[in-house]
Symmetry: C2
Subunit: 299 residues, 2 copies
Amino acid sequence: MPIVECVPNFSEGKRKEVVDQIVEAIEKGGKIKLLDSRMDPDHNRAVISFVGEPEACLDAAFAGCNKAAELIDMDEQKGEHNRFGATDVIPFIPISDISLEECAELAEKLAKKIGDELKIPTYLYGAAAKNPSREVLQKYRTKSFQYEQLKEAIIEDPIYEPDYGPKELPKAGATNIGARQFLIAYNIYLDTTDMGIAKTIAKNIRHSGGGLRYIQAGAMKIEERNCVQVSMNITDFKGTPLNRVFDMTKTEAARFGVNVTESEVYGMIPLDALLEAAEYYLQLNSFERKQIIEKRIYE
Amino acid sequence: MPIVECVPNFSEGKRKEVVDQIVEAIEKGGKIKLLDSRMDPDHNRAVISFVGEPEACLDAAFAGCNKAAELIDMDEQKGEHNRFGATDVIPFIPISDISLEECAELAEKLAKKIGDELKIPTYLYGAAAKNPSREVLQKYRTKSFQYEQLKEAIIEDPIYEPDYGPKELPKAGATNIGARQFLIAYNIYLDTTDMGIAKTIAKNIRHSGGGLRYIQAGAMKIEERNCVQVSMNITDFKGTPLNRVFDMTKTEAARFGVNVTESEVYGMIPLDALLEAAEYYLQLNSFERKQIIEKRIYE
């Protein structure tokens, strides 16, 4: 069964009753599973995450966007977080039995539906971007170019022509809809207090330091354990699997006579990321995932 | 969500229409998932396997047993496989979120229900055995002690007093109901053709050879790959996890300068067995299974 995660961000982090109503709208269809809902008053933003089958997630995201447009007036809204609209971003993330490309198609379907039916302009970003300049959201929705600036630009500047919906901004603003890979927060603890060693390892394993393509890494001092940690984001666990970054960290640490004491997944992780590691280390080279009993139950 | 596997064996391996009706009865409630159904005419036996929540599996097994009692007359039945009754054995096997002890309780509940409602004598075996002499089914239901012998013994010999049901045999015979761990068929391929090496490794890793407690192992020549294999049954993967037997095999092989080229799960495997290996090799020592997104969906 294909499973997608959807993490819409709404421009409301102060009025709990507003966020509650949006969550209620998202859950109303009864076909998605809510994972998390949190509000940040300083950013004046709520981040809601849920999972389910692709169409159920599309319907739930649409319902949330519809409710947000009803309750949030962008002419009144202020906060630290850059934003285009009441529903500011809606990313779709592949979890299992679905590709990033299929999530991009789902994003486009939702962008069209929101544009057509709610009359809200939509911009496709990330893996769903049609325009290469929209691949990185943070490059076109910036501190100095937000809802207020988009208001005029969407009418006058062809660069800001939306992918779907009207060429003018309603009070709900515009919505960025995209697809991206699941991000795994992954940390590896070392049996040393030497931050220099952790920094060297972090530099060597990360993409920017000539290391692994989908790894961002830094060094952290962990006071309560009296040790250091290599702290990572894995931005595409299919591209750079956990086992590869774990083994490389171990190898780099060994050069200093340092050992890995533990690794840690911070937050959620898709099952496939762990299965990949089990298959790798056990050399299960001909294994098929359908041999897993639970896969047969939930297929 | 607790998930159990149930693998009832029926004394019918020739008349397809009979087995079809038993399968239909098992599936009728619509709450279990059929994994497999196979007939063996020589043994005159059918093995059906399905999974689901404990109560759903109990109901499905009861329905299958009821139908088999209606369609199979043990006075007529002949075959190579030792048997006590139309429904000969019903093992319950823990798959996820359930213990062996809970499966034993489920077995006893079914044994009572079949005894009381279908008037079929039931014997509890395996981890569900109340009488230690019934722990190993093959020790009390033998080539020389089957349905025909039980017919008199159940009336006259206190040793054969059933755990539940009448002290006489109906034409459906008696049913053995039990609980056991999931058995994983696991093979490790070596980059040598030397059977002596494979035999030594198999001996060293298996329980009977002073090796790992829940491992049965032998050596096999694999002609089509021009290599040898250590062929195993893991009788309790929680007691002896895959990673332990894999690593020990690698170590024993290294002593001969031999490498592991691949390992193989033959047939099905519970998810937990693979997660255990992923956590072990990645040193995910504080990991909680509820961090897996799919666990949240299907909980």
